[in-house]
Amino acid sequence: MHLLVCGGTGCRASESAGIEAKLKSELEKRSLDQSVQVISTGCFGFCEKGPIVKVMPDNTFYTQVTPADAETIVAEHVVKGRRVESLIYTDPSSKEKVEESAKMGFYKKQLRIALRNCGFINPENVDEYIARDGYLALGNIITGMKPQEAIEIMKESGLRGRGGAGFPTGLKWDLTARTEADQKYVVCNADEGDPGAFMDRSILEGDPHSVLEAMAICGYCIGSDKGLIYIRAEYPLAIERLKIALSQAREYGLLGNNIMGTEFSFDIELRYGAGAFVCGEETALIHSMEGLRGEPTLKPPFPSESGYNGKPTNVNNVETLANIPVIYLKGAKWFSSIGTEKSKGTKVFALAGKINNVGLIEVPMGTTLREVIFEIGGGIKDGKKFKSVQTGGPSGGCLTEKHLDTPIDFDNLIAAGSMMGSGGMIVMDEDDCMVSMARYYLEFTVEESCGKCAPCRIGNKRLHELLDHICKGNGKLEDLDRLVNMSNVIKDTSLCGLGQSSPNPVLSTINNFKDEYDAHVTDKKCPAGQCRDLMEYFIIEENCVGCTACARVCPVAAITGERKEPHLINPAICIKCGACMEKCKFDAIIIQ
């Protein structure tokens, strides 16, 4: 019997390490520690209900476990073979208990390729990775294939970069392989920067060897003996597990000189990023590794010609790399049979926002937004109405109801006015104001622009200022034209992908929610009731009994009225704190 305890950052933060320790001590107490193993795994993805403990081989899936529950799990499940009912997941719509993960709505539609080992193996033990056919692909390739043959398989598989741009991986390898040089580099881009996205972190925490193996395969294909992983320093657990994985791989001769007795040598170094969003852009990333300011430079030249230290460099994202060993084991045909015509395989998404099942999911390309949000994601929180979903991180676009049946792939999302990005998916409900949402995303890009090119440095700031102006009720109708023009010019003239996509939230919200913008500038109203400056608290005379509770709680004495008489709010004094509304027992106070 195995007890799998999630050791991802999310569950760790909810004391999963304590659960693990308690399980071990409880087992020890009962002298079961030899027959039952407790394994700390990578992320299960179902972060909403963490910490997760999974019991194998019966697949029981326990959610929201506390260290105190560890004793019950051992005493009941391990010793007596009875499932602990109170820890079993209840489906929010059917209200039924679902004991096994495979039957849960969250997992039913998922297909886990990049995340295949996350939540399954102990990432700190290379043997467990090897037991799952780890390093077999590398062995097959370096002992039995020419680099060009392996590149052809990668091309046939149709794998496209998962970092956002979707460039065909095989083609990238081919370009780097064809550039003649005395030194080439394989770089893993682990500078995950989209707020709310944590697929790369989860892969590195849960299955680091798959990334190392893929980098070695890439090194063999393009003719490089040196790999670099650029990882943000804010990922301490991922860094720790990478370090363990690197030393174990070296110890087993899976990295280093003459791997598996062949002529092929390859080793990997870690480089730490300071967390600048723009360093996820490959030229900026390379400059950061060179010790220069993390700023992008114009492409061409592409890194495949001139990258790290001016040498040909192949940059792949973590999730892209995690797909690679399986592709070689199961074949290009198998991989390309999954997904849509132009986007093959699966994609990992980080579900966040007003959705029931917040977490990390992996679905085949072509799955619709509706399936992701309502089936896997379990629908909108608190029974509210779905309004919009932001895909592609802060520089993606807001999609609406009409896009829900769009099959998700690289091209469809762009056609819909958004993008795949690294796979962030933030769901918004009827209470979210789209103007302030756009402002929120701009705040992020203003903060994260490197400042090198004028449109991104100044233009985004001006966009943000104007959105703020509108949210405060000072906007004019012609400001909307200016928003659109500034957005288009920033997209058209910016140096790198950051500025070329940062106005997307503005453009997509103006396209899809024009009436909401109009309401802000012409009626000075925020239909979602989010923009504080546009709200007015109001007492409905008929409902007010004159209990004075609101007047007493008002911190600025904006409410007046006699006892048992209807009260009145003076909007000139009101600071819109909402305390009166909270206090009123008669539903007499509303926001207008």
Partner: protein, 592 residues
């Protein structure tokens, strides 16, 4: 090189492969506006961060607009440089830049010479939309002895950074902060004074706006001129006469020596002297020092330090004091001509005229900003009274002349005063790279060999190549000479000297590319390197026309030695005309 055919604005052009769209357009007479871009091709200096995005053009088939300054032409490319899309983008980006630039044109030192102002005129900007709500990025004003940094006016063209880091290898300026607050500054935002800055002023020379300017000292000069108790003496450096005319609309390279003297007299200076006289004096001292070190070396004295390095450039002195303090006994101990002049003026000349030291004010007009710092050095004063009181730049003199209602172009030619106004051709060529060493060779040859030098023009020492070398036959002794201009080139020669690998007997170093003609205090060249060439040839022309072309033949120099100094390198000469250097590595602090 293969040829490429492309179409720009419906016109065909054929260019070498590797040509940028911007340059190809120029061949067609299409003047695409550029702002951050700068190309000093004769000096191999190019700045193209592609950051301002003003030069964007539409390239058929590309999603975004392309920066023409750094996008290479491709076969069959179809480019539009003034489509509606381009013009709108260019204008909008310009409006962005102006929205973050102080509207102080009327009082800005750079007004009339500002490239941003010119661009606003060219693009016909009449208003800045959204100005009322536009926040500005503001920074602390930083004043050093030579340079003022008002970064509110910085547009992030990065030219200064290119000059400081790539060309000068000084590394005082680089981009800091990010996004809207990104700006070019010393590390940790410390003051220039606490950085590695050498005050070479190349940042000021290339700054398109008023962000980097010289410290203005003209008012101080005016105050002294108005004081009847003071005798105000002025000296003018050789490079000034080759550039001053440009400020009054004259052709680059037009010599205005006579008009300059006449203008200075009109301004009210009591004595108008020539730094060239002091340059001749410098040669007497430096050539003698060279010959004595050479002699000692030939006689087997291991302590004789060779190569001897020239020491007349204050930016260069600051550079080795900060970067190569271990070599501080290698350069010649001879003071710069500016300081020799001051020392002699306030002793020999003051005594002759019976003027008390404190009643004499020595003003220098220099092509240089480091001279401002140099004259403030403690070791160049007696009892707190500096040998040179004030140093103003060529640009400041021009402004001064304009303010005094002098119609410069119509001024008659006048002669310098004596005794410190007489100079030889050797003194004149001090103003250009290679000139000091050529002047030294003319004198050293005759002193060493006792023979008359028939051909005084040493063509092999001239030109704009960054590092040059020549060997000259000194009666059987082959004198090996190295020349570097630009501190990056100097660093190369200095590394060799430090490592004991230098093959030269003497090295001339000028901090500024081109020598003093390209100094940080000269009229702005606005990226046109032809201007520097024209100034250099003007100086060689003046040399050619001089009746005396060897420093030791200057009759007033002979008198000075006879009456006052004794002989070159005498004790008195040492006291007045020589100096010593300091280890300034420790000067670099992180204080603010």
């Amino acid at each position: 090189m293969s040829k490429i055919k492309l179409t720009i604005d419906n016109r065909q052009v054929e260019v070498e492969s590797g040509t940028t769209i911007y340059k190809a357009a120029r061949e067609l007479g299409i003047d695409i506006p550029v702002l951050c871009y700068m190309d000093l091709h004769d000096l191999n200096i190019e700045n193209k961060p592609a950051g301002c995005r003003i030069c964007v053009v539409e390239v058929e088939g590309r999603r975004n607009l392309a920066p023409s300054c750094s996008t290479n032409c491709e076969e069959g490319m179809v480019v539009k440089s003034h489509s509606v899309r381009v013009l709108n983008a260019r204008r909008t980006v310009m409006e962005f830049i102006l929205s973050d630039h102080p509207k102080e044109c009327l009082t800005c030192l750079k007004s009339g010479h500002c490239e941003l102002q010119d661009m606003a005129v060219k693009l016909g900007i009449r208003e800045i939309p959204g100005e009322a709500i536009a926040e500005m990025s503001t920074y602390r004003l930083d004043t050093s002895p030579s340079i003022v940094r008002n970064l509110d006016k910085c547009i992030m063209c990065r030219r200064c950074e290119t000059m400081c880091n790539d060309i000068q290898t000084v590394g005082a300026l680089s981009a800091i902060h990010r996004g809207f607050m990104a700006v070019v500054a010393p590390a940790f935002e410390q003051n220039l004074e606490h950085s590695t800055c050498t005050y070479c002023g190349q940042c000021v020379a290339v700054c398109p706006t008023g962000a980097l300017t010289e410290v203005n000292h003209t008012n101080e000069v005016l105050r002294h001129l108005a004081d009847p108790s003071k005798t105000v003496v002025v000296q003018t450096a050789p490079a000034v006469r080759a550039a001053l005319g440009e400020e009054f609309g004259m052709e680059p390279g037009e010599l205005v020596t006579g008009k300059m003297v006449s203008a200075l007299r009109s301004l009210g200076f009591d004595f108008v002297f020539d730094t060239d006289f002091a340059a001749d004096l410098t040669i007497m001292e430096e050539a003698t020092e060279l010959l004595s070190r050479l002699q000692n070396h030939l006689e087997g004295d291991g302590t004789a330090r060779l190569p001897i390095l020239t020491s007349c450039c204050p930016g260069w002195v600051n550079f080795f004091e900060t970067n190569f303090p271990e070599l501080k006994d290698v350069p010649s101990t001879a003071k710069s001509p500016q300081q020799m002049f001051g020392a002699i003026a306030k002793t020999y000349f003051a005594e002759k005229q019976n003027i008390k030291r404190e009643d004499m004010i020595v003003v220098s007009v220099m092509p240089c900003l480091a001279k401002k710092y140099e004259c403030q050095r403690e070791e160049f004063s007696t009892d707190g009274n500096p040998d040179v009181d004030i140093s103003i730049s060529t640009r400041e003199l021009a402004a001064f002349i304009r303010q005094a209602n002098i119609d410069f172009k119509t001024l008659p030619d006048e002669e310098f005063d004596n005794p410190m106004g007489e100079s030889t051709g050797a003194g004149v060529i001090f103003g250009t790279t290679g000139g000091v060493i050529e002047a030294a060779v003319r004198t050293a040859y005759e002193l060493h060999t006792g023979k008359k030098l028939e051909k005084v023009d040493f063509e092999q020492l001239r030109g704009l190549e960054g590092v040059r070398e020549a060997s000259i036959d000194f009666n059987g002794l082959e004198l090996r000479i190295g020349i570097a201009h630009g501190l990056g080139n100097a660093r190369k020669l200095l590394n060799d000297v430090r490592d004991g690998k230098s093959k030269y007997h003497a090295i001339e170093i000028m901090a500024c590319p081109g020598g003093c003609i390209g100094g940080g205090g000269q009229p702005f060249h606005h990226g046109k390197s032809e201007i520097l060439k024209a100034r250099a040839s003007a100086l060689y022309r003046e040399d050619q026309d001089k009746p005396i072309r060897k420093s030791h033949e200057n009759p007033f120099i002979k008198v000075l030695y006879d009456e006052f100094l004794g002989e070159p390198n005498s004790e008195k000469a040492h006291k007045l005309l020589h100096t010593h250097y300091f280890d300034k590595k420790k000067r670099i602090t992180i204080k603010q």
